[in-house]
């Protein structure tokens, strides 16, 4: 028999217990630490206020257009420190006509490539002829109070900003796609690095002006300004390979412009504003009307309200 006698002696037993115990303690400590509330990573306070000149020359009237009112409220909100703003969206489903202007406006504003969509409009046919109607449901990112996409990110590349926007750091995201699975609304999509003109016929073989140049066509590489940064899709650089989603046009808010989907809504069905401003249109709408949120049972507390 060449087998070794291998019982654990007392010293080995204590060492084993110590190692396993230490492992459990360290694991518990790091999980509890990361689960505990932590101060915001974004700057807060007076430094985050914006004094914008937008609409200063336009006189306020009593029954002002809703867009003008929302924009004035936006300017007012931007004058406050970021932690005193809380952006929400309200969508009046009774007014939505399913024109998809918001979807297209968003694609144009954020230079979204194929397969990336921040605000699709779901169409649903209800009933049987002759009692039939069509329902439309625009679905932006819900910017949830308890966003299930945030804690699953292994590298802190996505977080909830003090103003309520759930943001993604494209320079940090590793493209593991766990946030895509964690979002019950399917709000996140992954940038696979595709181009609209990929595989398309190339025009003239050379020359300064070429009608089409496959994925190298200039319009495919126009920078987007998401999160107030310059993102040029070239080569394999970010945001290619990253998770992407609606950010309430954070870059437009910085300069006093409403999110593109709000601006392009031809039926005035989409509203945007600061829920911490009691005089804001969005607060008025959510108080006056019967509002619902999507998939409430998941407990994410979505911040996009639907008037039904």
């Amino acid at each position: 028999m060449n087998e070794e006698k291998t019982p654990l002696d007392r010293r080995e037993f204590i060492l084993a217990g110590g190692l396993v115990g230490a492992g459990i303690a360290v694991a518990a400590a790091v999980v509890v630490k990361d689960r505990s509330p932590s101060p915001p990573v974004d700057p807060t306070g007076e430094a985050t206020t914006r004094q914008l000149d937008v609409l200063k020359q336009v006189k306020q009237t009593e029954h002002e257009d809703e867009h003008l009112r929302m924009q004035r409220e936006l300017v007012r909100a931007m004058a406050k420190p970021v932690e005193q703003r809380r952006w929400i969206m309200v969508i009046d489903l009774r007014k939505c006509i399913g024109c998809h202007s918001c979807t297209i406006g968003c694609v144009a504003e954020n230079k979204l490539p194929p397969g990336i969509v921040y605000r699709p409009v779901v169409t649903k046919e209800v009933g049987v002829y002759p009692n039939v109607r069509v329902q439309f449901l625009p679905r932006p990112c819900m910017h949830c109070e308890n966003p299930s996409c945030v804690p699953v990110c292994p590298v802190r590349a996505t977080w909830k900003r003090p103003d309520g926007i759930v943001a993604i750091d494209y320079d940090k995201c590793i493209g593991c796609r766990s946030c895509l699975n964690a979002c019950p609304y399917g709000s996140r999509t992954i940038d696979f690095g595709r181009y609209y003109a990929e595989g398309a016929a190339v025009g003239a073989p050379s020359g300064d002006v070429r009608p089409l140049d496959g994925p190298r066509a200039p319009y495919e590489h126009v920078s987007s300004n998401e999160y107030a940064k310059n993102w040029k899709r070239e080569g394999k650089g970010s945001p290619i390979g990253n998770a992407r989603k609606c950010h309430l046009c954070a870059h437009r808010l910085e300069v006093g412009q409403l999110p593109m989907c709000v601006s392009t809504c031809i039926g005035r069905a989409t509203y945007f504003g600061d829920s911490k401003d009691p005089k804001s249109l969005v607060v008025e709408l959510t108080t006056k009307h019967n509002v619902q949120v999507l998939l409430e049972h998941w407990g994410n507390k979505p911040q996009c309200y639907y008037i039904v």
Binding site: N2, K33, V152, V155, G175, L180, A182, I190, F192, K236
Partner: protein, 401 residues
């Protein structure tokens, strides 16, 4: 220093058996085929990117994730068996050579798993931010740290096994065994923690992953022990090796049956609970990939292995059963991954913005299969190199002694 001659002639103490030599040529051919196929897949991935994959934004995890969890499962299962056998002195598992064989197998399973999960990332160059900027609210980060801690512990155990006296070997084996039990079950939590998928939201997943890891780990160890023969390379050890294989056979069967019992319970809840959402289970048992569940997982990966383990007296048949078993568990993991993702929460979302990457369906592509082949080739290479290094270090330590 390990002499080159020692390495090249390392088929000695820990390598040699006639059966092993008989299989060598076949294994080389298999390895070369897998490697070439894998390199083609890698080239495709590096040139075309993830566009060559079949996953999209709604079904975002595919075959590689299943293979990844299979790899870490085998690593954990093999290690826990090796550690328990060595510490408790089970016949056929009590020598350091037995221990090293299992640890090398464990490493050969987990390292290619890391490779495939790395290749799955959208931004591969940022892999290390999981270590530099981790948040442990994420199961990915927690698991990554746990797997890597296990990797370090396994390597240290392997190194300590060459020292004649080490008070740290068994305590570290205990830690490794603890991690080996923890991380397969935490692999289940990885899915359970994605609370927004009904199909994954079941505590039974942890048990499914743990029992499958134990079955696959002991099955893989059986395969290896059959292939390499007595770990000390002495004919007198043949009966001990036979007994180890018998033990592994029984344990594999027990773990496999346990897995089936858990899986039956899991599916039963969906099938018999009235007015419940069963689209995922419907997809699994009646969908377009139902043949994966019925054909590969249950028939090829469960019934045939069970038959061979229970009724065949031939060790070679048990080794074949082990290969089929692992294949079946890959199918089982696909049966957890894909049905959970093909069911959307918002009806009509797929039609709202039409694109090939925005669909609730998944079809693995040739590139994904080729990378799977690379994973197996890398695993074989790690095992081969690990065995050679083991033999060289063992010979050197014997000489010193």
């Amino acid at each position: 220093m390990i002499q080159a001659s020692t390495l090249s002639g390392a088929a000695g103490a820990e390598m040699g058996s006639s059966e092993y030599s008989g299989c060598t040529k076949v294994l080389w051919v298999v390895w070369i085929v897998l490697l070439v196929a894998g390199l083609v897949g890698l080239w495709k991935l590096l040139t075309v990117g993830h566009l060559a994959g079949g996953y999209g934004s709604y079904v975002s995890w595919g075959l590689w994730i299943a293979l990844y969890f299979m790899g870490v499962g085998i690593a954990g299962g093999a290690f826990v068996f090796a550690a328990a056998g060595y510490i408790l002195g089970w016949r056929g598992f009590a020598t350091r050579a037995d221990l090293r064989t299992a640890i090398v197998l464990s490493l050969a399973a987990i390292l290619p798993a890391f490779l495939v999960i790395w290749l799955d990332l959208g931004r591969m160059e940022r892999l290390f931010t999981v270590f530099t900027s981790a948040t442990f609210t994420s199961m990915i980060a927690f698991n990554a740290w746990m797997y890597n801690t296990f990797l370090v512990v396994a390597v240290v155990c392997w190194l300590l096994s060459f020292k004649s006296e080490s008070v740290w070997l068994k305590p570290l084996l205990c830690l490794g065994a603890f991690l080996s039990i923890l991380f397969p079950s935490q692999s289940g939590v990885f899915f359970e923690a994605v609370g927004t998928k009904d199909y994954w939201n079941s505590p039974l997943l942890s048990m499914l992953f743990l029992s499958s890891a134990l079955a696959a780990g002991s099955g893989a160890l059986l395969f290896v022990r059959t292939l390499v023969g007595p770990t000390d390379g002495k004919s007198s050890d043949a009966s001990v090796n036979d007994q180890a294989i018998q033990t592994l056979r029984k344990f594999t069967v027990a773990a496999l049956i346990t897995y089936l019992a858990f899986e039956f319970a899991e599916i039963s809840i969906e099938v018999w609970r009235p007015y419940t959402e069963t689209r995922s289970v419907d997809f699994l048992i009646r969908g377009e990939y139902a043949w994966v569940f019925w054909g590969i997982q249950l028939f090829v990966g469960t019934l045939i292995p069970l038959f061979l383990y229970l009724f065949s007296p031939n060790r070679g048949a048990w080794a074949v059963a082990s290969v089929l078993l692992v294949l079946g568990f890959v199918a089982a993991r696909m049966g957890i991954l894909v049905p959970g993702q093909v069911v959307g929460q918002i009806p009509g979302l797929q039609e709202a913005f039409q694109d090939a990457r925005l669909v609730y369906s998944y079809h693995p592509t040739s590139m994904e299969y080729l990378i799977g082949a690379l994973m197996i080739a890398v695993g074989m290479a790690v095992f081969f190199i690990g065995r050679r290094l083991t033999a060289a270090l063992a010979s050197e330590s014997e000489q010193k002694a």
